[in-house]
């Protein structure tokens, strides 16, 4: 039953509907998009009793103000934007019930960047090319292909459930110093030995030129062996482009599908969520890891999520 669940009183900076992304259309230039921090999205869904891949609201820096139009369980995970119900602070990483007429709002950004609002019963927006994710540059998916605006009404299939919380070891800590693991390549030959060394040994800083498409970093110049350009090829999530400036760009959820800058490495999948929560100014170091280890880590994390999910059923 399609029921109105929230009315948007204030939009926030860029509140969008996101699920785990849109696959199968990269060859037609369609970015996978999806939640920047897929860990928080899935944890939120777990807490409210949804399928892991259900869509939630993603809100960076400044959260929205929402009025509940129905009693519903919600969970707020990810960045701490000081969530409040009727002005009273409420905890993150916990399912809570918001009652019809109550107001969910956010305050100061304390930790992380993006908060995820998972709603029991999910968000009823159409699947566009198999996904509910908003593709901002493509102007489709999610809520009418755009970020939420004042006056929008979100629909769903709301229900309430007994409150649930997470064990503390499952709650990530966001810091202003981050080491992310990378698989080096594929355009290794485009860099000098010194350039590669700089990349793996120096510290970089996330700039404010960072969004859903990518994080622009600044730091010691990574030296190319010749030109910075390549014949355009396909880009993976976490790919690290280095244009002629020698300053790396990490490609995030809404990255372009193809690109013409040489790439020095790829951030491994399990480290993307932490990077998604890294504020501008965060210091980043890159550490090389083997493909085997990276895949083991990814498989472990997915298996842990799955067994948690089974426990809650």
């Amino acid at each position: 039953m399609r029921t109105p669940i929230f009315k948007v009183m204030k939009s926030g900076l860029q509140t969008t509907v996101q699920d785990l992304g849109r696959y199968g259309f990269r060859e037609f230039g369609v970015s996978p998009s999806g939640a920047m921090d897929s860990y928080s999205l899935q944890m939120g869904n777990l807490l409210v009793g949804n399928d892991l891949g259900e869509a939630a609201l993603e809100a960076p820096f400044i959260g929205p103000v929402l009025m509940a139009l129905h009693d519903v369980s919600i969970a707020i995970c990810g960045g701490n934007l000081t969530p409040k119900i009727n002005g009273q602070e409420v905890p993150l990483w916990k399912s809570i019930v918001i009652k019809k007429g109550q107001i969910l709002s956010f305050g100061e950004l304390k930790e992380g960047v993006r908060t995820y609002i998972s709603i029991a019963g999910g968000i009823d927006v159409p699947f566009v090319l198999n996904s509910k994710s908003t593709y901002i540059t493509g102007k489709f998916g999610g809520f009418e292909g755009r970020a939420l605006k004042e006056g929008d009404i979100l629909f769903g299939n709301p229900f309430t459930r007994r409150n649930r919380f997470l064990q503390t070891q499952l709650i990530p800590k966001y810091t202003n110093k981050l080491t992310v693991r990378v698989i080096v390549g594929p355009h290794t030959r485009k860099f000098t030995t010194a350039g590669l060394k700089t990349f793996l040994n120096e510290e970089y800083s996330i700039t404010s030129q960072s969004n859903r498409m990518g994080h622009q970093l600044t730091g010691p110049k990574i030296e190319h062996s010749s030109t910075a350009d390549i014949i355009s090829d396909a880009i993976p999530l976490g790919g690290i482009q280095v244009p002629a400036s020698g300053q790396p760009i990490i490609l995030m959820a809404e990255h372009q599908t193809t690109g013409g800058y040489s790439r020095i490495g790829t951030v491994i999948s399990v480290d993307i969520p932490l990077l998604a929560q890294a504020q501008p100014g965060t210091k980043v170091r890159f550490k090389e890891i083997s493909l085997q280890n990276a895949q083991d880590l990814l498989i472990d994390s997915r298996n842990r999520l799955k067994s948690l999910y089974r426990l809650t059923r």
């Binding site: 696959y23 566009v128 390549g185 014949i231 090829d233 396909a234 790829t266 990276a294 990814l298």
Partner: protein, 244 residues
């Protein structure tokens, strides 16, 4: 030519066939991708053919890198002798010049030829779709006649209309959506290149061809109207077959 197979992070593998753009490399990639798709390997999510390489995105829970790499090697052997691909040529109507093709006179002047000559050179060619990328439905076309290749604008335009047809250096292409562009815009097509309401959202795909034909303003408007109502069928023919 050396084939190179490398991981792209923990969930993708890239197979590079060559280090320069040409049609024969493209055909090799195309064969490879057809064979790969036919195999329907469990764990393969999607593949993206590009100029000189193909990237396979996969789920390492279902298939590990080493297993996929083995399959790629055996596919490479198949790729050489496989069935013909029968590419399709899409006939794209273009209204050249006017307000929606503001750079046509500039391209003509740059090469010291008439606007009509630019149109006839541009439309008298089958362009290979090497890949789709940049934005949904944008084709990277190969085969522009060097006679009309023109440097990009020094200052890109902040926005060009959806459907704009342009020349950027040695390349030509069609912009499916309103985007910034530094290309010389010589015309506009009334067709929609990317439509999420279609089962196959992108009109074009890598491996097929595009040819342009000039239409007048009235016809442009008429096709546009029909196209928006989904009542215009794009004209196509099989590559190699003569059209009348």
């Amino acid at each position: 030519m050396s084939i190179e197979i490398v991981p792209l992070g923990d969930s993708a593998i890239s197979i590079s066939f060559d280090n320069e753009i040409n049609e024969s490399t493209h055909h090799q990639i195309n064969h490879f991708s057809q064979n790969l798709r036919r195999l329907k390997i469990d764990g393969v999510i999607e593949c993206v053919p590009t100029y000189t390489s193909i990237t396979i995105f996969y789920d390492p829970i279902k298939i590990r890198y080493s297993q996929l790499e083995k399959m790629v090697y055996s596919l490479m052997e198949l790729a050489v002798n496989s069935i013909p691909l029968n590419p399709i040529v899409y006939r794209i109507p273009v209204y050249y010049g006017g307000k929606t093709g503001p750079d046509l006179p500039i391209v003509a002047a740059y090469h010291n030829i008439s606007e009509q000559e630019v149109i006839s050179i541009h439309s008298n060619k089958e362009y290979l779709v090497h890949m789709i990328g940049f934005v949904p439905g944008f084709p990277y076309l190969g085969g522009l006649n060097k006679i009309i290749s023109t440097p990009r604008l020094e200052k890109p335009r902040a926005k060009i209309a959806a459907g704009s047809v342009g020349i950027g250096g040695d390349q030509t292409g069609i912009y499916p959506a309103e985007v910034p562009s530094g290309w010389r815009i010589i015309g506009i097509t009334p067709l929609t290149l990317f439509d999420i309401e279609n089962v196959k959202p992108s009109l074009l795909s890598a491996g097929n061809y595009v040819t342009f034909f000039p239409v007048g303003y009235e016809e442009f408007l008429a096709i546009k109207e029909r196209s928006e109502l989904k009542k215009y069928e794009v004209m196509t023919y099989k590559k190699g077959e003569q059209i009348t």
